[in-house]
Symmetry: C2
């Protein structure tokens, strides 16, 4: 891979505030800032993944204003931190980032809470995307689909534009199980992983055509923004005027020159404790243990604690998560149940 | 039941410091002082069981010196608290209590950490025992054996001495499963529940014959004891000289006039979390829950917490105990495993 003369600007979207990894993940402490998969947070690993200065410029982060303390520690690796005054989904967030960049600079937009095990494969995919990006295409990265998941959007790959790059035939919403299986069987569908690459001017031009209200609100918020060192605080009143719409709906599904680069890179969105069990290191009894945990005669468990000591005997295939003074227990395969607990009561 | 002209003196043995109900029960906070079965401690319930002034005099407690704070709150219901400087098993403990009583006063000796659901049946058994006690017999109460338990000693009932009172044919150590089944099938065996009744002078006389070293050490400890209000603190050096032997070994298995009063009174020694599950109130899904616990789609669980919030979904037949910053999890039927955890590491 030869370095691009003009470095790619990573844009890291850190707006997520989900509770699918409750009790550890909470709105004020979302999963991208927790050391869940390794001893580093996924936010830090996302930054490290685009830390090679021969390929990438300093990153821009778009984060919720409430998460400023979590971003603070990474300040020296960042060109700018855009603090959203409220959540408006991805299209307005990316628009704010694009407005701060030089017109034809390439942006690599990615979530902050995903795992990519094979960084070299990711970099190869970026290199394949680069010529089309330079030519004004909007590129999405299509994750090699390993199972008929119903929790992801899919992308059908159309004609080949270059080696390892296809035109997008269509975007498919989260399917039911039957459609998901059909798409996996077809062989020409990939998962929509929410990673994009395009020139800032190409994205803003597409936004002007397909979602001018988002562009107008974001531009007003940007123009009236307050700058505090590396922080940019968009005008709250103006930004709130933007419809809360994803980049997929607002632009990618409507624009003409949209390409997909399929890539198999050990991707996971770490969307559940079950997913985390799959990513974690296991001992000889297939237990994945973190923190003060004692297990005997037990197998296949995910047990994590950041304080409470957990002692268990004779248990199999359970997920046990202790955080502060909360303990959550579900069988593996049922970790979606945490959403009912996270809401409180 | 007509009240005895001379009240029976309850002697409550509170020396136990087991960890079979770890993490709640610990050496410095043994199970008799915890509200495990009801909202009262078993110590308080044991006292209440012998609180009828027409039948019983004020009780004597023999407790470990370290448990003085736990006894303090019951002071106004007690005649005397004997604080053992060290654990020497039951024979020396009962000897200390006997020395403080009038010579032919009847003592009812009982552990502080057992449950008796049918107090009327207990009182009836005491009434049956009284005439033999007055005649100098050493009486033990035989618990109706409901299952071939290997964790208890057994008593074989011999000839009938009076209605509902038998001579003891023999004491049997904790048996293996096969012998336990044979004894249950025989119909003439009961469990040794560690409850005794005899005249103080009869017990001390038997001790002099069968275990004079225990009598001598206990007498020296008693004679040199320090009195602090209701508290009696035996001399530590003298008491330590006593061999640590149970009343069963020291006296009951050797003496001549030993009787057993069989009684079916809903007895339990609450010897495990499994036993506690059996005693607890259950909801419609057979869960027994105490404290800040949320369960959904779960059945047959014992879940207790005194602080940590426990949220579980889709779990069945587990024992989950949270105390302070400890959580213990075992399947029901395996609660003997806690002993391995209680030891620390």
């Amino acid at each position: 891979v030869s370095p691009d003369p003009k470095p790619i600007i990573p844009v890291i979207l850190s707006g997520g505030a989900g509770t699918r990894l409750w009790p550890m993940s909470m709105p004020d402490r979302p999963k991208q800032f927790l050391p869940l998969v390794s001893d580093q947070s996924m936010f830090a690993e996302t930054l490290a993944r685009v830390g090679d200065a021969r390929r990438f410029g300093p990153a821009i982060v778009v984060a919720n204003v409430g998460h400023r303390p979590h971003v603070e520690g990474s300040l020296d690796q960042l060109a700018r931190i855009i603090l959203e005054p409220c959540a408006r989904n991805t299209a307005p967030a990316i628009a704010l980032a694009a407005m701060g960049l030089a017109g034809d600079g390439a942006m690599l937009v990615m979530p902050s809470d995903h795992v990519i095990a094979d960084v070299a494969a990711f970099h190869d995919a970026i290199a394949r995307a680069a010529p089309l990006v330079a030519a004004g295409w909007l590129v999405t990265f299509g994750i090699a689909a390993s199972a008929p998941e119903t929790g992801y959007g899919y992308i059908q790959m159309g004609e080949t534009l270059a080696e390892g790059v296809n035109r997008v035939a269509r975007f498919v919403e989260k399917p039911d199980a039957e459609r998901a299986s059909q798409m996996i069987a077809s062989g020409d569908h990939v998962w929509n992983g929410g990673i994009f690459m395009f020139r800032a001017d190409a994205f803003l031009a597409a936004l002007e055509i397909h979602a001018p209200d988002i562009l107008a609100a974001s531009q007003a918020a940007f123009d009236k923004a307050v700058i505090e060192g590396a922080y940019l605080l968009p005008d709250a009143g103006a930004f709130a005027q933007s419809p809360p719409i994803s980049i997929d709906y607002a632009v990618m599904e409507k624009a003409d020159k949209v390409a997909v680069v399929p890539v198999d890179m050990g991707w996971s969105d770490v969307g559940s404790w079950d997913a985390l069990y799959g990513l974690a290191a296991h001992d000889a009894d297939s237990n994945a243990i973190t923190g003060p945990v004692r297990l005997s005669a037990s197998s296949g468990n995910l047990v994590r604690s950041n304080g409470i000591r957990i002692s268990a005997h004779g248990i199999d295939n359970l997920i046990i998560i202790a955080d502060g003074d909360e303990v959550m227990i579900v069988p593996r395969g049922q970790s979606q149940a945490v959403k009912d607990f996270a809401g409180g009561k």
